[in-house]
Symmetry: C2
Subunit: 341 residues, 2 copies
């Protein structure tokens, strides 16, 4: 049995649902994965006067034994800062420096500093995982890493922001931009300040995350070509509908000549396009691969549980990695004694 | 480095593409997964007079050292027998009894005998994997096993047979059933004897595989409600088109009251249904899950390479499992010493 000690950095809806989900799935996590988990510390902006980075440093020192045993995990669920990805990136660095694994739903660190954080994680011998950062907990990064070995991703395109897709779908039905957005805000799905979604920043951050991780790029949300959704989109939507097409906010990137260019653009698509078929809050990502052609993954439900689930999946990934690393470090097993060329 | 010794049972297009793919990806398999592989034996119906089961027994005995070191793998690529799943099921049993892992693209063993073969694999301490059996090498079983930990699959529906989907799409364009089928056969995509596809047997076998593995069912292709595609479908297709719907051959199963019922039926779907959007040879599977709602995976390319890739992915899964088992058997690592309740 591996007992993970969790330090929660941020304790909003996602973190609380993560903790309750661990409790609900305690049985299967114990039986099938031999995982137990408990919260050993919580830091919110209001919980203490010290800076969050100082809290993380002190907590990692206090839990040094768990950190050494590779079972200390910082759970980073603060909100996205799209200017610089801070202070979340500093939280991740401090946690890795303290020999904790990091799991996060925050897009900022991966969108702004993936390469250096991955190096920091490698140096520390700890994991930095973020399955919940794109398409909630629908497996994207786990899919590519675990289920598509030896496949190269050449590019991707997708619909990755629920608020704008909902608004576009409502505008097709004749609702106004303001009316559709207000409806989403009333239902609690869109933030009171929905500008991150509406201006395309959320999709641009996800595009940067996907491009950095899947295509080995070094882009940030600011280097992604970006378009948003606003009232002026109405005429494009109507013109597209008139010829049997649908307007979607499409996130994409591809590798060409070693350069990766990310885009978030309003595109009108033929109705036969998989992305055109996404209604309301549905999301999808189409991966262009070398061996399997196009593979798409579609998310048809969304909400708090899928997002929190991303953190659970990350915890299981850490367990597997700890087991693998332990195996390769400690036991020169039979298969490793093989001396054939 | 783990050196897998491969025994090829069946040496048709899929097996040959598998071997060439291993060679093409030799670099990444070695660097990233520390895997090498070589063919140490081949059995086709014509290669020797002995029965294939006898060949497997003798070959496992001859390679007993590799088998003991968990690096002997039988690669089963014989064609589907939809009456009983034989002799492929006997091949798998003989291989596991000989302490070899088994990877296969053949649906028969899993469609007819999944539960007993899984037990045999557990007793032998070896893996029995079949990623290529459904939707070519598009990860379905790896996705659920590795990327959806602690998620329960409640049911599924999908379009999983390319030939019938191609024929249905062509009939929508006004082609005759016979004309569309003949075109597929000329292009080499459909078999000369396409009855397995056309009568729904291939889809029923895949439904049995999916139901047995994902839903813990005990069904066979014969207990799946089954419908096929024939010339008489034309009037349904036209009637559906007239009201903006599309006819698809939909494979599905769900768990209700502990009982799993599998179906392969012609269904007319609204155009907004993800399955309705699949043209030509595209396939898709929608998983109904407890934590993530509906998650769909869509295959947009098909062919020999994706199918052969399923075997490569299975080989990597075996490597990971060997490493994990080695870890848990050999090293009581720090995290395992934890004594907390």
């Amino acid at each position: 049995m591996t007992q993970f000690d969790l330090l929660l950095v941020g304790n909003g809806n996602v973190a609380r649902r993560f903790v309750s989900l661990l409790e609900e799935r305690r049985g299967v996590l114990g039986r099938r994965y031999a995982i137990r988990a408990r919260v050993v510390g919580v830091k919110t902006r209001r919980s203490s006067a010290e800076s969050t980075v100082d809290f993380i440093r002190a907590a990692c020192a206090r839990h040094a034994a768990a950190a050494r045993e590779r079972r200390l995990v910082v759970v980073e669920t603060t909100t996205l800062d799209v200017a610089k990805g801070e202070p979340a990136t500093s939280h991740v660095r401090a946690a890795l420096a303290g020999r904790a694994h990091v799991i996060t739903t925050n897009k900022g660190p991966t969108a702004f500093a993936y390469r250096s954080l991955r190096r920091a994680a490698e140096r520390a011998g700890r994991k930095f995982l973020f399955e919940g950062a794109v398409m909630d907990g629908i497996p994207i990064f786990n899919l590519v890493r675990d289920a598509l070995p030896a496949v190269t991703i050449i590019g991707f395109r997708g619909v990755v922001n629920s608020t704008t897709n909902y608004v576009l779908t409502a505008m097709e039905r004749g609702e106004t931009f303001d009316g559709a957005l207000a409806a989403m805000q009333r239902s609690g799905i869109a933030e009171a300040d929905a500008s991150l979604d509406i201006e395309g920043w959320d999709a641009a951050a996800k595009t940067a995350v996907l491009a950095n991780v899947l295509l080995g790029a070094r882009v940030t949300p600011h280097s992604v070509d970006r378009e948003g959704v606003n009232a002026a989109a109405a005429h494009r939507i109507l013109a597209a509908q008139a010829v049997g097409r649908r307007v979607k906010l499409v996130a994409s990137a591809e590798k060409a000549g070693g350069v990766v260019r990310g885009r978030v653009l309003l595109v009108d698509l033929p109705e036969t396009d998989l992305l055109a078929g996404l209604d309301g809050q549905e999301n999808a990502l189409i991966l262009h691969t070398d061996l399997l052609g196009e593979v798409a993954i579609v998310q048809r439900g969304s909400g708090l549980t899928p997002t929190a689930y991303g953190l659970v999946a990350d915890l299981v990934s850490i367990l597997r990695d700890v087991q693998r690393t332990r195996a390769s470090r400690r036991s020169p097993g039979p298969a490793r004694r093989d001396r054939n060329p």
